[in-house]
Amino acid sequence: MRRNAVAVVGAAETTDLGRIENLSQIGLHADAALNAMADCGLRPKDIDGIATAGQTPVELAHYLGITPTWVDGTAVGGCSFMIHVRHAAAAIEAGLAKTILITHGESGRSRIGNPPRRVDPQSLNGQFEQPFGPMGPPSMFTIPVLRYMKRYGVTEEQIAQVCVVQREWAAMHPRATFRTPITTDDVLNSRMIAWPFRLLMCCLVTDGGGALILTSAERAKDFKTKPVYILGTGESAETPMVSQMEDFTSSRAFRVAGPTAFQQAGISVNDVDHLMIYDAFAHLPIYGLEDLGFVPRGEGAAFIAARNTAPGGKLPMNTNGGGLSYMHSGMYGMYALQESVRQMRGTSPAQIDGAKISVCHGVGGMFAASGTIIFSNETPTYDW
């Protein structure tokens, strides 16, 4: 796939975020999709490709009145939307569709039209994990962390810094759920969920959605919105069972998806102006920084605690406040993508001046899958 051949021309979140009691889950998808179409002046008849997770692309195509020539229902958890961007870029380059809509909507808090998740007792998870008492991500995604802490001598106080720094970013966003500053003590004194994880180290549970519209970079010039180009992409998968990760201190899916995207983009970590790393829990930005090569092994927590990713730091990260403070409906990836697009358009409430390259890295399941997108706002210079 060529660099910069495809661009995001439409991007929007749902009209509201937080607690939304007047829309079901598919309604959140549609609200976000209509907002993204309005953002770039399109109507459903102009869309010929659709990708989504949570609902099926069939449901969304029908609900929105779209006749697609390309559909993608990749559903591998919260990074599905990064992977949709990757697949959409490839599809547009291959001529399978011209204008692709990617939607996310999730009634994570109000749970309207959002069936309860159930672990099948015949599945590998149902046979070899569920009998031992996990109850969703807070008690499973967190299991590898003690091994990481022991290997590298990382403390609970350092991990708590992730939450403190991200709240500083959230304070700049009028739409963020939590904007009041917090201290390390606030984090460590919050209610114990699954030691060593306290409440403030765990993501929010809210309602919302978001949508993106992609087209070729050539055609993107005809839109009123500032194009955000797809510079590089990567994806991978490891295991549905957190107990079966190859290495508890690192994600294999991260180590495949991230470098694949950097290689395609032809950039190094030193070229990155802005970074989003999916933070369902406080340890994920630490693993992400290390697995994508921004810092050496074992130094991610100290890097964050030294305020390198904080406002004014050299590597601004999770500038919407992340899943810990901005919003988290269950599959957070779309909101990380939206903040990357805002940063590349120059419209984020926490705008990084002069940012030209944004890396958006997602996780799916509990270290089960990963997707990485590298965005650029610089017009392609090579010949078509």
Binding site: P121, F132, M135, S139, I143, I193, A194, F197
Partner: protein
């Protein structure tokens, strides 16, 4: 009505040997006849080399504590706080389990502590493998 208990596994043809093993007081793993890899969870082929020539064998039951959380929220069949642990078996594979006959505290649950398997019947069909501090 009795209170709902913990979630229990429903064996499949590919995993039946494992659950038959726990009922018989054996922790059964699989080994590839082609490349020699010991692996878990059960499947009728080797995930390292793809060979269908594999053998079920009885593991030693020895392990070390690899990582865990101490869960503080209510779950049917459990009294919080309780540890959800992953152990590293002496033969190589890791598995999720609970640590029994041990206080469920960070002080008592030290990573790399030596453990041994114990079996607890949940009903007349399902016996779960747990681990306790090794008695030497």
């Amino acid at each position: 009505m009795p209170e709902p208990g913990r979630a229990l596994p429903a064996p499949t043809p590919e995993t039946q040997h494992f659950w038959d093993g726990t009922q018989a007081g054996e922790l059964r793993l699989q080994r590839c006849d082609s490349c020699g890899k010991n692996y878990f969870p059960p499947r009728p082929f080797c995930s390292a080399c793809g060979s269908r020539s594999v053998t079920v064998f009885k593991a030693s039951g020895k392990a070390i504590l690899w990582s865990y959380v101490i869960h503080h929220r209510p779950v049917p069949g459990f009294t919080p706080p309780y540890a959800i642990a992953v152990v590293q078996l002496a033969e190589g594979p890791r598995m999720m389990t609970n640590i029994v006959e041990c206080p469920q505290t960070p002080e008592a649950l030290q990573l790399d502590m030596e453990l041994e398997v114990v079996f607890e019947a949940q009903n007349d069909k399902i016996t779960l493998p747990f681990f306790r501090p090794a008695k030497g």
